[in-house]
């Protein structure tokens, strides 16, 4: 499914950056297996598909039905992520679903790229497709497709990418149908076993660690204040409660993260810190209980805007959970902790990318320079591709010297990326760690903070971490990404 999706999709965001995932669920919507290409999708579909099935309250699917939604309060990420599912039949009965999620480069809303830095309600972040029949008998509904393409700035991408998702689902359904034809009911037996297996694996992992309560805090930055995230890990033998009580209330800014994002980022941190080989499906969530207070930024209520929850808040959830785990396990210092989302666009074009930074220093070695960390792992867009596709020119792409936090083992260095705008352009940046550098561990110093600016003919305008500005042709957007935190006290102190 993923290969079909990559090959048939249109936007560079999907085909080059692989901002997408595919999954298989059982008839109850429990996630059996997921191939995610970026960690922020890890397990998000286990929330998304369950929500969707509950929302639909129907059991009268037909073969070739495709249901689509991008409503974050259902799908579990943000409006740019279109989720589609299709039922798998065996002996006339729905035995499971295949699902596809992909990030559309533009989904409408107030700015190109849709991740509006200034949104105060979700309605400013783009079109909300409530769950709707996108296809019947694999035939896309022309009216639905028209509604979608009429509400976005890049209709060709939206059309191509949505058709690619349908092709991916179709491949998934046909492969699963082959399995059912070959093995019959043993397929669903095996699914049930695989849920039990992941549960047993997870319990074994948890019970190998010391029971106890471990707390940590971290912050996200708004223009005028910090927003606090708190977590307490309550590890009792082979069960773990992850409790985000104490986290600040939801805000009128897009850094609210729907609960699906909170679950994904927590799952990521646990898997990465405890055992990268941990297989993942719904069985993981049987001994791991994740709680975030309703109305907090980690479990907001409609109509809070959520576009950056997926990117920035997910990074901070990973940071804070990793920090709590560092109370009982050896871990690296904080990595850059942001995705440095850049959205550039004009009347008929939109470009989106995220930029890597430093990873945290480690007990045994320096952090890694210029790399995607934690919740994202998307590829960069090559300068030559950018220049051949958009009215942009990349003028600099280098490592940011001495930006990693000092320490016995320094943090990795961030990146400097400078892009010249060849036309008048709407520029949006959504980042973080501009006031508080990524933390060090065991005496290591924090990494350098991020720095964004717009260099015009005669001035350099410093940008906030979350801001939209109109820029004249000829200006240069300058992005300095954070370095990782250092590990251990620097040798000379």
């Amino acid at each position: 499914m993923g290969v079909v999706m990559r090959n048939a999709s249109f936007s560079p965001n999907i085909k080059d950056r692989l901002d997408m995932s595919s999954a298989i669920m059982d008839a109850a919507g429990q996630l059996i297996a997921q191939a995610e290409h970026i960690p922020v999708h890890l397990g998000s579909m286990s929330i998304g598909v369950k929500n969707l099935l509950e929302h639909l309250k129907v059991d009268s699917f037909e073969k070739g039905d495709v249901i689509a939604t991008n409503d974050p309060y259902i799908s579990g990420t943000h409006l740019n992520d279109m989720m589609m599912i299709s039922p798998v039949f065996f002996n006339g009965k729905v035995e499971g679903y295949v699902a596809s999620k992909a990030h559309y480069v533009d989904i409408g809303g107030t700015i190109p790229g849709s991740l509006s830095a200034g949104a105060t309600e979700i309605y400013q972040e783009g079109i909300i497709m409530t769950p709707i029949h996108f296809c019947r008998r694999w035939e896309p509904d022309k009216e639905v497709l028209t509604i979608l393409t009429s509400n976005v700035r890049t209709p060709d991408f939206a059309r191509g990418d949505s058709l690619a998702q349908v092709a991916a689902l179709r491949t998934g359904v046909s492969r699963l149908s082959e399995l059912f034809a070959k093995y019959g009911g043993r397929v669903t037996d095996a699914w049930a076993q695989s849920l039990d297996y992941v549960e047993a694996y997870t319990r074994s992992l948890l019970s190998s660690r010391a029971s106890g309560e471990y707390r940590a805090e971290d912050v996200l930055e708004l223009e005028d204040r910090d927003v606090r995230l708190c977590v307490t890990l309550k590890l009792k033998r082979d069960e773990l409660e992850v409790d985000f009580s104490g986290t600040d209330r939801q805000v009128d800014a897009p850094i609210n993260a729907v609960f699906g994002v909170t679950v994904s980022a927590t799952s990521y941190a646990l898997k990465a810190a405890l055992d990268p080989d941990l297989p993942f499906n719904y069985g993981f969530l049987r001994p791991v209980h994740i709680y975030a207070p309703l109305g907090s930024i980690l479990n907001p209520e409609r109509p809070a805007p959520v576009s950056a929850g997926n990117v920035e808040t997910s990074q901070r959830v990973a940071d804070v959970v990793l920090r709590a785990i560092s109370c009982f396990a050896e871990l690296p210092a904080a990595s850059q902790g942001t995705m440095n989302n850049i959205m550039l666009g004009g009347k008929d074009w939109a470009f989106y990318e995220t930029i890597g930074g430093g990873s945290g220093g480690r007990p045994d070695s320096d952090g890694v320079d210029g790399v995607q960390v934690n919740m994202t792992n998307t590829l960069n867009t090559p300068a030559e591709t950018i220049e051949a596709t958009y009215p942009l020119r990349v003028v600099r792409y280098e490592l940011r010297d001495n930006s990693g936090g000092r320490g016995l083992h320094r943090g990795g260095n961030g990146i400097i990326r400078e892009i010249m705008l060849l036309r008048d352009t709407t520029v949006t940046v959504v980042g973080d760690r501009m006031r508080h550098g990524p933390w060090g561990l065991k005496g290591g110093e924090p990494g350098q903070t991020s720095y964004y600016s717009l260099v015009t003919r005669d001035d350099e305008i410093i940008l906030g971490s979350k801001q939209t500005v109109k820029a004249k042709a000829g200006s240069v957007l300058r992005i300095f990404t954070p370095g990782g935190g250092g590990y251990g006290a620097p040798p000379d102190t």
Binding site: G160, G356, G370, N377, A383, T385, Y397
Partner: protein, 680 residues
């Protein structure tokens, strides 16, 4: 048309463990196997030649010397001149990390450290227009400053695939100052967009130039003519090899794929899967209508996961590579249980030391070889006299048994623990290998059931029946000498050069004319060929997509129609409203070397005196475990199986280099070339 016709032609495949030599000596094939000498590969080759009694020859050669230099980090220092502002492109790569969930991930060490990467002021636009002239003084200064420290320069400027003028001028300047320094231009080795991949290809090439030159010089002292197998499955001469060493990264596996292709040509098989299973890995390739499937990107030194290359785990090289999917399933692959209690096979291997537990060399973990021994599928003594100790294999596998009996009614209910584990482990490995085959078929829009498998490598013939079952494939072929099949491929391969150019709309015709004349010039320097084949291909996509399909090129219009047809076949829809664009033009030029009748058994005299099938006698009857239970199976020696023989499974065929397992419901026949043909 015959290259080096006056000389004895000898093929040598240098693998990780063994150096295999094979040649045609009037009446039959002669073979020699010696241990590889990793520190100085040429010594093993010369030793094999000595044992074969060959003094001088025309050497056809597959080598791992290029890959080894990168893997061991034992390579010369080079410098990189690149566009100012972009000197860290080589280090940042595509900014991803190779493992998503590993907090301790490392990137592969950068091939040229920052102090030897110099940003030069210059700039071309994406349309090839000069935005800033080349700072010639800076080029001169960089060359002079680094000359004493390096054994070569790579030059890679932004957008040089569109307009290479600055790279060409920079080369003139450096060559003028330092005539001895080998130089590599990115626009010459890989004329395509995406700066990281092109720069990486150029740097790899620059690094390998001195490595290859030294190696070929050493061989050249003893051997008068050496041709080297490229990753694309074709030879080039040693002179050409020195300017494009990045072409030899996957030299060895390419030879095996060529052998599959030649066998298919001979037998008239339209679609075949090459399945090569050895001690540590299994590889799958495809041949369709006489053509090897080729891919254009690879990461040298990279790791594969579930058959796919992990992006960012190695160094990208863009060149034509035989399209291979590789999984870590081999005889030495370790069987274990994870935390969740699931049985797992690989990716770790017991390697040569300590090897499988049954070798009695201190291996404590069971391997696939141990599983096969417990199932009584292997002889208890291997060629070379190594005894396999079944008790040791049993003991290690027993330790993984769960004690949980399967539910009643299951075929395996109540099995001895070690046998159940062994059967499960073999099925897991089979599924993993089937996955490699799916990658090169299903993921490329091909139906594997329309294919015939050619199984080779030491362990391929033992596992091929299970793979046929898993994929619904009805026929496979096990050639003579399955363990030396790659070396045999070398004797049969063509000469080949691949070229690529970014396309310009409306100029395809002229650009191809330029490519063809370049291609013919190049191959004519290799030798006096008559039968030269020129193949034109175009990478084509919908405008806006960045994934191309490669389509045979006739003219710009027909290629677009062919693209739409293929696209529909692959993805189930087309978008008529979107324009189609040609991205790259590709040309391959091949020329054959007369290979005589090497695969033609009738002419080689290898065929038995009588074509009448003589009923062979088994050397013994053994109880062998199959999926369906323990059965009595006759054991045959391969040399006793004459053409025309037809036998029903269950049975086992043994030979010095491989064991063939024929389960119940499978039939084994022997064709006129003495290939074993497995059907069900």
């Amino acid at each position: 048309m015959v290259v080096g016709s006056a000389q004895l032609v000898v093929a040598v495949d240098v693998g990780g463990t063994f150096t295999d030599l094979i040649f045609w000596e009037g009446t039959g094939l002669k073979t020699v196997k010696v241990p590889t000498t990793p520190a100085a590969v040429e010594e093993g080759i010369l030793r094999a030649l000595e044992l074969a009694g060959v003094s001088d020859c025309h050497l056809l050669h597959a080598t791992t010397v290029a890959t080894n230099a990168i893997l061991t980090g034992n390579y010369p220092r080079v410098a990189l001149l690149t566009t100012k502002g972009f000197r860290d492109v080589l280090e940042i790569g595509r900014q991803n990390r190779p493992e998503m969930y590993n907090l301790w991930f490392k990137k592969p060490p950068v091939l040229v450290p920052r102090e030897r990467r110099v940003g030069i002021r210059e700039r071309m636009s994406n349309t090839g227009e000069e935005l800033a002239p080349l700072d010639e003084l800076a080029v001169r200064q960089a060359a002079e400053a680094l000359a004493g420290e390096v054994e070569g320069f790579a030059i890679s400027f932004l957008n040089s695939h569109v307009n290479p003028a600055h790279e060409l001028r920079a080369r003139e300047i450096v060559a003028g100052l330092l005539p001895q320094q080998p130089l590599t231009l990115s626009s010459e080795v890989d004329r395509q967009g995406k700066e990281y991949e092109r720069t990486s290809t150029a740097v790899i090439n620059a690094i390998l130039k001195p490595v290859m030159a030294r190696y070929l010089a050493k061989l050249g002292k003893k051997i008068s003519k050496v041709d080297v197998m490229q990753s694309n499955g074709g030879f080039i001469t040693s002179a050409a090899a020195q300017s494009m060493p990045a072409a030899f990264i996957e030299s060895g596996p390419a030879a095996g794929a060529i052998a599959v292709k030649s066998l298919c040509d001979k037998l008239g098989i339209p679609r075949a899967i090459g399945f090569d299973m050895g001690g540590t890995t299994a590889k799958a390739s495809t041949v369709i209508d006489g053509k090897l499937s080729i891919t254009n990107e690879y990461e040298v030194g990279g790791r594969a996961s579930m058959g796919r290359m992990i992006r960012g785990s190695g160094y990208p090289v863009r060149f034509a590579f035989v399209d291979l999917a590789e999984v870590s399933s081999g005889g030495g692959t370790i069987i274990w249980r994870d935390r969740g209690g699931a049985l797992r096979v690989g990716p770790r291997s017991a390697e040569a030391v300590p090897g499988p537990a049954c070798y009695g060399k201190g291996g404590k973990e069971p391997t696939l070889t141990d599983a096969n021994l417990v199932l009584n599928r292997l002889p208890t003594q291997l060629a070379g006299g190594l005894k396999l100790v079944r008790a040791l294999a049993l003991e290690t596998l027993e330790s993984l048994a769960t004690g949980n009996k399967r539910e009643a009614g299951s075929a395996k209910g109540g099995l001895p623990g070690a046998v159940e584990v062994a059967l499960d482990a073999v099925s897991l490995a089979t599924e993993e290998m089937a996955r490699a085959i799916r990658i090169v078929t299903v993921e490329r829009g091909l139906d594997p059931t329309e294919f015939t498998i050619v199984a080779y490598g030491g362990a391929g013939p033992l596992h091929v029946a299970g793979i046929m079952d898993s994929l619904g494939i009805s026929k496979s072929i096990i050639p003579s000498y399955p363990g030396l099949f790659s070396a045999l491929g070398l004797l049969l391969a063509d000469y080949r050069h691949d070229f690529v150019l970014s396309s310009t709309p409306g100029k395809e015709h002229e650009l191809f004319a330029e490519l063809v004349s370049r291609g013919l010039d190049t191959i004519k320097k290799e030798g006096d060929f008559e039968d030269i084949t020129v193949t034109k291909l175009a990478d084509i996509r919908y405008k806006g997509q960045s994934f191309e399909l490669t389509v045979p090129y006739v003219d710009a219009d027909s290629v677009k129609a062919e693209f739409r047809r293929l696209y529909l076949e692959k993805y189930g829809y087309t978008i008529e409203s979107n324009p189609v664009e040609i991205v790259n033009l590709r040309l391959s030029v091949t020329a054959s070397r007369r290979t005589g009748d090497i695969l033609d058994v009738e002419k080689t005299g290898a065929l038995s005196a009588s074509l009448e099938a003589q009923k062979p006698h088994p050397i013994e009857v053994r109880r062998v475990w199959f999926e369906s239970g323990e059965l009595s199976a006759p054991i045959f020696e391969r040399k006793d199986l004459h053409a025309g023989v037809l036998l029903d499974g269950p049975l086992v065929v043994q030979s010095f280099d491989a064991t063939v397992l024929v389960p119940p419901n499978f039939t084994l026949s022997v064709d006129r070339m003495l290939n074993l043909v497995l059907t069900h």
